[in-house]
């Protein structure tokens, strides 16, 4: 019931403390999610490895190819207010403004927000639509995982217990335009009941390519492949069919935010609105 709190000063030390066979040892970044889980008794750690003291895991940088690298320990507030983020991926800055409240954003870190695996989160679907990837490290080395592939189920990710997300990489968006539509059911600063992330590469009303991801209403962030296919082949004229396909193909959960029936309807409405928003905005 009691646990050990350890604050390593280097990434190496932090990685050494983790154990691939022991999920009761957990990295602790902002702690906003972990402490709720500990308080409600759903998680009792044996050891918490506090990441905050590791110097080289924060900061936001832009590379020559226009991609952004965001250190895993950057707070959500740092990302929200970063001039680089505002310029390169304004949709992310905008989405963060509606993520909970300032107190949470000042504490929660980007790594924690991606690794947590709770379906009711805003960033995993949005970052998937932005084609972002995480850089993951363990004692055995590094690997890159697309955010889209990271969450594999309800609170389940591809991360091994001895792996840490060290950074997030968001590619240059070039001619891609994005929107994130969030619906909350119980209060404005609630976790999402539904999140729809849309990225479109287009010329006027002509859709060249599209990525659609639904989150929160589904067990894990889910790519809307069929709808994407319809829009790629039929263009905006196919929107009603794409919406219908999304509502038919996606498995929406009943939960404390609302019934599947309602959220399915919301998905249709918000998907349509997000495509219209992007094409309207950049027409």
């Amino acid at each position: 019931m009691s646990f050990e709190l350890i604050s390593p000063n280097t990434l190496r030390d932090a990685l050494d403390l983790l154990d691939v066979d022991d999920p009761s040892i957990r990295p602790f970044s902002g702690g906003t999610a972990l402490r709720l889980m500990m308080k409600s008794g759903v998680f009792s750690p044996s050891k918490l490895v506090v990441l905050r003291g590791i110097p080289d895991l924060s900061g936001i940088e832009i590379s020559d190819d226009g991609s952004l690298t965001i250190g895993a320990l950057s707070t959500l507030a740092e990302v929200e207010t970063s001039a680089l983020v505002a310029r390169q991926v304004p949709v992310l800055a905008g989405a963060l403004k509606h993520l909970s409240n300032r107190r949470v954003r000042n504490v929660a870190r980007i790594g924690g927000a991606i690794a947590h695996g709770d379906p009711h989160m805003d960033l995993p679907p949005l970052l998937s639509a932005l084609n972002a990837e995480v850089i993951v490290e363990s004692r055995n080395g590094r690997r890159h995982i697309a955010v889209e592939d990271l969450v594999i189920g309800y609170y389940e990710t591809l991360l091994e217990p001895d792996e840490l997300i060290v950074a997030l990489r968001i590619p240059a968006q070039d001619d891609w335009h994005s929107a994130y539509r969030k619906v909350t059911a119980r209060s404005a600063d609630d976790w999402p009941a539904l999140g729809v992330a849309t990225s479109i590469s287009h010329e006027g009303k002509e859709i060249r390519d599209i990525r659609l991801v639904v989150g929160a209403a589904t067990e894990r962030p889910t790519r809307l492949d069929i709808s994407e296919g319809v829009l790629r082949s039929e263009g905006v004229a196919g929107l009603p069919r794409a919406v219908e396909a999304a509502m038919e193909s996606v498995e929406v959960m009943d939960d404390s935010h609302g019934s599947a029936t309602w959220k399915k309807a919301l998905l249709g409405v918000e998907l349509r609105r997000s495509v219209e928003e992007i094409l309207g905005r950049n027409a």
Partner: protein, 756 residues
């Protein structure tokens, strides 16, 4: 002292709360900050079944856990409290469960330890075995169910009107209240129109920012209880009664409260910490987590069947009301809600004939008590929704329909009490004006529709109740007020000091207000039901006047003018030959009142009426059900405002709280278990949920019997919110909701057909 003819400006002045600086600089005195030498922390082990016989409680492992001082069960409590049942209306609630548990979350045992975390860990090691009994959760089912929550009713002996319930068996009806005025059946038989509807409300929470906390400290043959309580005098007498002690052996001290709203009334943790402190002979602290509050006290869920007879001119000729109050496992103040609020169930309308049946029901849910409005918001929700539905069916404008039926001063209410100082029509007219009701209204376009609604309600004040205050004037002329009204954020200390200042001709800021401490502050019934400004305000005024009379007499006997403003010091010096002496002014107030007869009738049923109303404009996204409040107007008759700025914040605060109960808040139960017992899942409105425009209007009014014309206001702006929103939604998109909360999803299903 101040010239009697000179009206000073203390009353009616919008000065900031006296304790504001202390609060924002973190220096205010809250019970949470108190650390007593040698104190132990208590943690409660709670029932996991909704209704069951306790077969065994295994505490051995918890007791031997390192750091644990003691583990206490209901049986141990009997050593210090042989009859451990408490409650304001019924003595039905055991300090810790005995033999039976009646709801999930009921306290069954307690672990005491020096370290609160150790106590919490050891609680996990307790194992209780229950034989489950059939449970009942719904108020309608409780009327007839075979599952009976209490084997026998145990009304508190102090209330003569509950005596007939003594020993009643095989029922969940804790109290039934009936009112019969005129001949309702005849009026229905000859009515041009008859309308009948049913409405429901959900169980919700007070969620004060400061969770419930109490400490008890043995001191010789006495006990000191430090507690965040709205009713220190009640705590003292009830703990004394439980212990079989005289009241002066129990001292109850209260600091500032971080919100109360009715959650901290009567006995909450005080009896438990008192018993624990006596058992372990050490100071004991018990502080609930936010989550544990969900298992402590809540607001009644309710079902209301209402039926009206209306004549061809749109006048209501008779009304029948049946109200079922879901009181949960223990009565708390529910029976009083049933009765004292029940008799206003026909609404602020001039109706000649009425039948009211109001039932307090036991169920296997967490107990329900008073929550900002004492049952009135549940009633207004139903009768004002009903009013709008009738207006729609008659094809009348809803404001016009209300005008035609409104209850005016000089006319009798259905109880028989003639209305006085009740500006119901002024509240309605203020709303109509501020809502620009007669002007064209933008109804929105496309799939986003706009609508508006207004609703009004009223409340009688619980009666008869007593308040006592003392005002002492020191020999240097400085003034101290002793009173036991608890300032939980509503600004009562400031308002009371303003009254003293007005009478004695001093500045409000110079008056010292002593925190409630039953050793020094005199009796007050409790801080509840918006009674304090009126009752304690009158007592404080009398106490200040009593002090002033004595000072005037002293001045007179010295041959000084009685209006010796600023010369109090001199009066004392010349009277006692040096700066010495004290003048103590005492004021006691109890209003006149006539208890209802067997038909529920009385010609003086309340010392004053609170009137409140709300108008809203909403925008409904008809594709999703999501609804935005664009504008809210609150209006109230509170007599003359003692401090207009504080009054306005009471109006907006009450309305926003009720808005949460209207559109989102709900305690969700699954098999008796609250499944959203935390602020992560039970959402109260945040800053982004409140309307961008909120106007708060104090209607021009005066209460003849109130202190400087004032009366209560803490709840008035809760009344109209829910029905106004329901009407605005229907006005916008054509669907009528009859159950709270009106969530986006509920609106969506109403628009697009039922849930699959």
């Amino acid at each position: 002292m101040g010239d009697k003819t000179m009206t000073t400006t203390e009353v009616g002045r919008s000065l900031p709360r006296l304790e504001a600086r202390q609060k924002v600089t973190g220096r205010a005195n809250y019970t949470h900050n108190l650390k007593l030498p040698g104190m132990v922390h208590a943690k409660v082990f709670r029932s996991t079944v909704p209704h069951g016989k306790i077969l065994s409680i295994d505490t051995a492992e918890a007791a031997s856990y390192p750091g644990v001082a003691a583990v206490v069960t209901g049986k141990d409590i009997l050593d210090v409290v042989p009859e451990p049942y408490y409650g304001p209306a019924f003595h039905d609630q055991p300090i810790l469960a005995l033999n039976k548990v009646r709801y999930v979350g009921e306290p069954v045992a307690v672990v005491l330890a020096d370290d609160p975390r150790i106590a919490a860990e050891a609680v996990e090691l307790i194992d209780a075995v229950y034989e489950e009994l059939p449970a009942v959760y719904d108020e309608t089912e409780a009327m007839t169910s075979d599952a009976v929550v209490h084997d026998e009713l145990k009304p508190a002996g102090t209330f003569p009107d509950l005596k007939h319930l003594n020993g009643r068996k095989d029922t969940n009806i804790a109290l039934d209240f009936h009112l019969k005025q005129g001949h309702a059946d005849a009026a229905f038989a000859s009515a041009a129109h008859v309308f009948a509807h049913s409405f429901q409300t959900q169980q919700t929470m007070h969620t004060p920012m400061e969770p419930i906390i109490s400490l008890a400290e043995p001191s010789g043959d006495r006990l000191i209880i430090h507690t965040a309580s709205q009713s220190p005098s009640f705590v003292r007498s009830e703990v004394a009664r439980l212990l079989g002690w005289s009241e002066n052996r129990v001292q109850v001290k209260v600091g500032h409260l971080g919100g109360g709203f009715g959650a901290k009334l009567y006995i909450k943790l005080e009896a438990l910490v008192a018993a624990l402190a006596l058992l372990c002979r050490r100071p004991v602290r018990l502080s609930l987590s936010m989550e544990e509050q969900f298992y402590t006290i809540s607001k009644h869920a309710s079902t209301f069947h209402i039926k009206s007879a209306v004549d061809k001119d749109g006048r209501i000729t008779a009304r029948k009301c049946e109200v079922l109050w879901n009181g949960g496992a223990y009565a708390d103040i529910g029976p009083r809600v049933t009765q004292k609020s029940g008799f206003t169930a026909t609404g602020p309308y001039d109706i000649a004939a009425a039948d009211i049946d109001s039932y307090a029901l036991y169920t296997n849910r967490p107990p329900a008590g008073a929550l900002r409005g004492f049952g009135i918001p549940q009633l207004v929700w139903a009768y004002e929704s009903h009013t709008d539905l009738i207006a729609r069916e008659l094809g009348m404008d809803p404001v016009e329909f209300r005008r035609r039926n409104i209850l005016k001063d000089g006319r009798p209410h259905v109880t028989g009490t003639v209305m006085k100082d009740a500006a119901i029509d002024a509240v309605l007219e203020t709303l109509a004006e501020r809502m620009r009701w007669s002007e064209p209204f933008d109804r929105g376009e496309g799939t986003v529709k706009r609508g508006r609604g207004v609703a009004i309600g009223f409340k009688a004040c619980v009666s008869p109740t007593t308040s006592v205050a003392t005002v002492t004037v020191a020999a240097d002329g400085s003034v101290t007020l002793h009173h036991a009204t608890v300032d939980m954020g509503q600004g009562s200390d400031t308002a009371m000091a303003q009254i003293v200042a007005e009478v004695l001709g001093v500045r409000t800021e110079e008056i010292r207000v002593v925190d409630p401490d039953t050793d020094v502050t005199p009796y007050d019934m409790a801080t509840l039901g918006s009674r304090s400004t009126f009752h304690m305000g009158n007592a404080v005024r009398k106490a200040a006047e009593h002090a002033r009379t004595q000072l005037d007499d002293m001045a007179k006997s010295l041959g000084m003018a009685e209006t010796a403003a600023g010369r109090v010091k001199e009066v004392f010096r010349r009277t006692y030959g040096m700066q010495a002496g004290t003048v103590v002014g005492v004021g006691t107030y109890i209003p006149e009142y006539v208890s209802p007869n067997e038909d529920g009738l009385s010609d003086n049923v309340t010392p004053f009426w609170m009137i409140g109303g709300t108008g809203v404009e909403v925008e409904v996204d008809t594709e999703t059900g999501r609804t935005k409040l664009l504008k809210m107007v609150n209006a109230a008759d509170l007599g003359t405002a003692l401090n207009p700025r504080i009054v306005e914040t009471q109006l907006s605060g009450a309305a926003i709280m009720q808005l949460g109960f209207t559109v989102s808040e709900e305690m969700i139960l699954d098999g008796g278990q609250v499944t959203n017992a935390s602020l992560a899942d039970y959402k109260i409105p945040g800053i982004k949920d409140i309307p961008p425009v909120i106007e708060n209007c104090i209607v021009d009014a005066h209460t003849e019997t109130g202190p400087f014309g004032a009366k209560g206001v803490g709840e008035s702006a809760t009344f109209g919110v829910s029905p106004a929103v329901a009407e605005a939604i229907q006005d916008a998109c054509g669907v009528r909701l009859t159950r709270l909360p009106m969530t986006a999803e509920a609106i969506f299903h109403a628009l697009h057909g039922d849930k699959k």
